[in-house]
Subunit: 148 residues, 2 copies
């Protein structure tokens, strides 16, 4: 009862410490719940970005995903080998590369989304609406903080 009783005027450092613990715990749990057939988190993330925003250069992808270019190059190559994206040349700037979702990639996004999120969705279903609201709010805050 010690953590939920004192609610007002939270100390930023304390919240930060708790948040860190929570993040590592849930991350490990989610990783453990990933099925054999599911794409690794990072790779799937790239597909969803392409699905949402359309074709994009590796550099933009890297920036969007807050990753260094070499990391993105490798991830994109893996996806290309799987036939989920294709790399085509840029129309006017030959330094650049355009990464594009293939039909198979688009299918993968749709199919995997359901499968992959099954466990988490199920857990969230058991929460109250208010609790889900807290997590939704936290998501927005965390994304905002990460973007600074």
């Amino acid at each position: 009862m010690s953590s939920s009783s004192q609610k007002r005027g939270r100390n930023p450092a304390t919240v930060g410490g708790d948040l860190r613990v929570a993040l590592t715990r849930i991350s490990r749990r989610l990783r453990a719940e990933r099925g054999e057939a599911d794409l690794p988190e990072g790779q799937f993330g790239i597909l969803t970005v392409l699905h949402k925003h359309g074709e994009m250069s590796p550099g933009s992808l890297a920036e969007h995903e807050r990753v260094r270019p070499p990391s993105m190059t490798r991830a994109v190559n893996t996806l290309a080998e799987l036939g989920l994206v294709e790399k085509v040349e840029h129309a006017t700037d030959r330094r650049q590369v355009v990464v594009r979702l293939t039909p198979a990639g688009a299918r993968e996004v749709a199919e995997t989304r359901r499968r992959r999120d099954a466990w988490l969705t199920k857990q969230l279903s058991t929460l109250t609406g208010e609790e889900r609201e807290i997590l939704a709010g936290a998501s927005e805050l965390l994304i905002r903080i990460a973007a600074r």
Copy 2:
């Protein structure tokens, strides 16, 4: 404006998707903010567990951190090489090993805690009390979910 306008009756799947994005973003950000001198997240986590709960077997540590035993063995060995923990033999069961924080390890916990959390604490300081409340609540929820 599409994500913050509709607030009631959140769909678990939607919350899950957003949450996933938020988790990967903030995790990468935190990793990027880690200083040269700071211990990697996982290793530091082990030190804090030992600091909080006292000496412990690798198996218990693994369970506590939701990791498989081989992962813990390796992490503990790294910490032992750094002189931050020591491995001593169990009093009665010679299969077991007892992992214990060294004085240097205890020092490391105290010192690193401040340094390592500087960035996150600073970010949280700029939030409103209500927003920090949301993150504190979310931390509890996530830890609960991870423990299932």
